[in-house]
Amino acid sequence: MATETIELTGHIVDSLLLAKVLDAIVDAGVEYEIVDVRIGRTNVDPSQARIELDGDVEVLERLVDELQVHGANRVVTGEAQLVEADQDGVLPAGFYSTTNLLTDVLVDGRWLAVQSPEMDCGIVVDGDRARTIPMHRVRRGDRIVVGHDGVRVLAPSRRRGPTPFEFMSSEVSSEKPKALVVAQVAERMRAARERGGRILAVCGPAVVHTGGAPDLARLVDAGWIDVLFAGNGFATHDIESNVLGTSLGVSLDEGTPTEGGHSNHLRVINEVRRHGSIAAAVDAGYVTGGVMATCVRRAVPFVLGGSIRDDGPLPDVLTDTAAAADAMRVEIPGVTVALMLASTLHAIATGNCLPAGVETFCVDINQAVVTKLADRGSHQAVGIVTDVGPFLAQLADHVLGGRG
């Protein structure tokens, strides 16, 4: 939602211009309030009306353009108000809370593009640079944007052109032809690669449980994944499957629980801890394959975020969640495609940090995950309701085989 103020002057009553402008506002489904109106005393005196508009950013932008034709001018908002933070880790009261959309702030008469668009942050202005800042990173003396003046939010399509995945712009559905969807995701990955964009994979343990890890490893090995986010579970089961052939104790070849398998993942974590890091365990030959080992060998950065119920955890897991989120933020710039693979918590955590312009594909057997992601503001997410294992197999075939 955004607010704009327009002004209309002249013989706007007799010429029905005011009526026309108000009708156009109502037709656009935009809320309005006439904040000031002065009607000329005679038919020679000009009248003036100032109207405040409230509505969806994109609709408002189009409406204001349309109203300009009728002589209604946008009232230029004042400069962004900057207040110094008086305490580390605390934003000034009344701080502007960001969306994940591209945002500009007006400072010293110039519109500055806010860098690293991310939802639920503040905006810090430093000289002629503006960027989002998570609450905990605020330092005393940082100049933070307060209130809505001098802030404009740009609809993604304004700068990006038509949405590239219009084919899936409908609601999340389990009833789309999967082969087509896979081909389209592969196409988007290729397009991102051609434009120099980075591809992010966010993985849940089900990738390993469903047998998708070797296919994901193929993609990593061929350089199609530039960064990977996951948790202790995914990394552990990926290594467990490589070292012991099981995932959470279940044999990946037989599909049956193995004897004493319930502790397999603990033994693996324990050994990796003995080596000090996943990379060290790979170097020592303890882990020879799988997604994590391939990341290590191909120098693909990964961020493992921790949670309370983690066993171990693996030494690479960042148990300070604020530090984990910061580590993710470091890797996000340049990402243009995100694959959320059967991961509820990490997908939502990543969604919170991604700019709205990142093409996000959420693959999950559970439709609710996609809905959840969208409900938390990642409206750009396209849902693909399917079993992640076969999905990854087809995707790797497409991308690596050059099919589609």
Partner: protein, 285 residues
């Protein structure tokens, strides 16, 4: 019913350099050639018809770089001894502004300028209607050539009410293709060219409009010049002619086919010099 208080003195520019040299409205096609001799004959015919109807004609010297200078209706807006020169939307015509401004200044008019960033194409997009017992109201078209915001500025400069009307049909790109005041009760009106608000504005202002059918409007019927009870028209549709005669007017068809190739008719070729919109503005400075 009273005749128009204006329309007895006109500024015209001979078609010495006239031609369709660019395309800035849907009627213009560069491949269509203008016959210069025929254009001269038609222009002379219009001058003769105006004089015969009792009007005076003054000449603005032609200029080789601006072929559309022949359409003097777009020079600007006359208010007594004051003049507001047009600001043209298309670069092809912007060279006309200084020529018009200096001619009027030389004739002793006070020249008032619109703000630089606002477009308005003069009497081509603004014609006064004076209801019986009332004072003149300038009806001003906007969208294709003039800005709606210019009408507010115009109202301030002229000191008279200005009613902007949105033009919606590209073929009727100027107000003078859709509106022709006939006296203090009547006007030729082409609703095809206006949005629904514009139609209401005109309905409220003009007691007895002669509504033109779409094909009549597209034949430039409204682009006519009224001299007292004589109406010089590019085309007189029989139905319209009968109605005008019934009202006591004499419609005269004046061939201007060569100029229609550039999207202009009788009105476009003339600018009334005797318009007074506000009392006192006709006094010399």
């Amino acid at each position: 019913m009273a005749e128009l208080s204006w329309g007895r003195r006109y500024l015209m520019c001979p078609p010495e350099h006239f031609g369709v040299l660019y395309e800035i409205n849907p009627w213009m096609h560069q491949e269509v050639r203008v016959d210069p001799d025929e254009a001269h004959r038609q222009w002379d015919g219009l001058v003769a018809a105006l004089r015969q109807a009792g009007a005076e004609v003054e000449a603005l010297p032609a200029h080789p770089e601006v072929p559309d200078l022949v359409f003097t209706a777009n020079a600007g807006i006359v208010n007594g001894r004051r003049f507001v020169p047009s600001h043209f939307r298309f670069p092809e015509r912007q060279g006309e502004t200084p020529i018009n401004a200096s001619w009027f200044a030389e004739q002793g008019f006070a020249v008032d300028r619109l703000p630089e960033h606002l477009d308005h194409e003069g009497a081509g997009d603004a014609l006064p209607f004076t209801p019986a017992g009332g004072s003149p109201v300038l009806v001003s078209g906007y969208s294709f050539r003039s800005d709606a915001a210019a009408t507010a500025a115009l109202g301030e400069l002229l000191g008279c009410p200005v009613r902007p009307v949105q033009l919606v049909d590209e073929r009727l790109y100027h107000l003078d293709l859709t509106f022709c005041p006939l006296d203090d009760r009547r006007a030729l009106c082409a609703p095809l060219g206006w949005d629904r608000y514009g139609r209401k504005v005109v309905e409220a202002l003009v007691p007895e409009p002669l509504w033109l059918e779409d094909d009549e409007a597209l034949a430039f019927t409204a682009n006519s010049v009224v001299v007292g009870t004589t109406i010089l028209m590019p085309h007189v549709p029989p139905r319209v002619g009968r109605q005008l005669e019934a009202w006591g007017f004499t419609p005269v068809e004046v061939p201007v086919g060569e100029f229609l190739k550039a999207g202009g008719g009788c009105r476009c070729l003339t600018l009334a010099l005797d318009v007074v919109l506000t009392p006192g503005s006709d006094e010399p400075r």
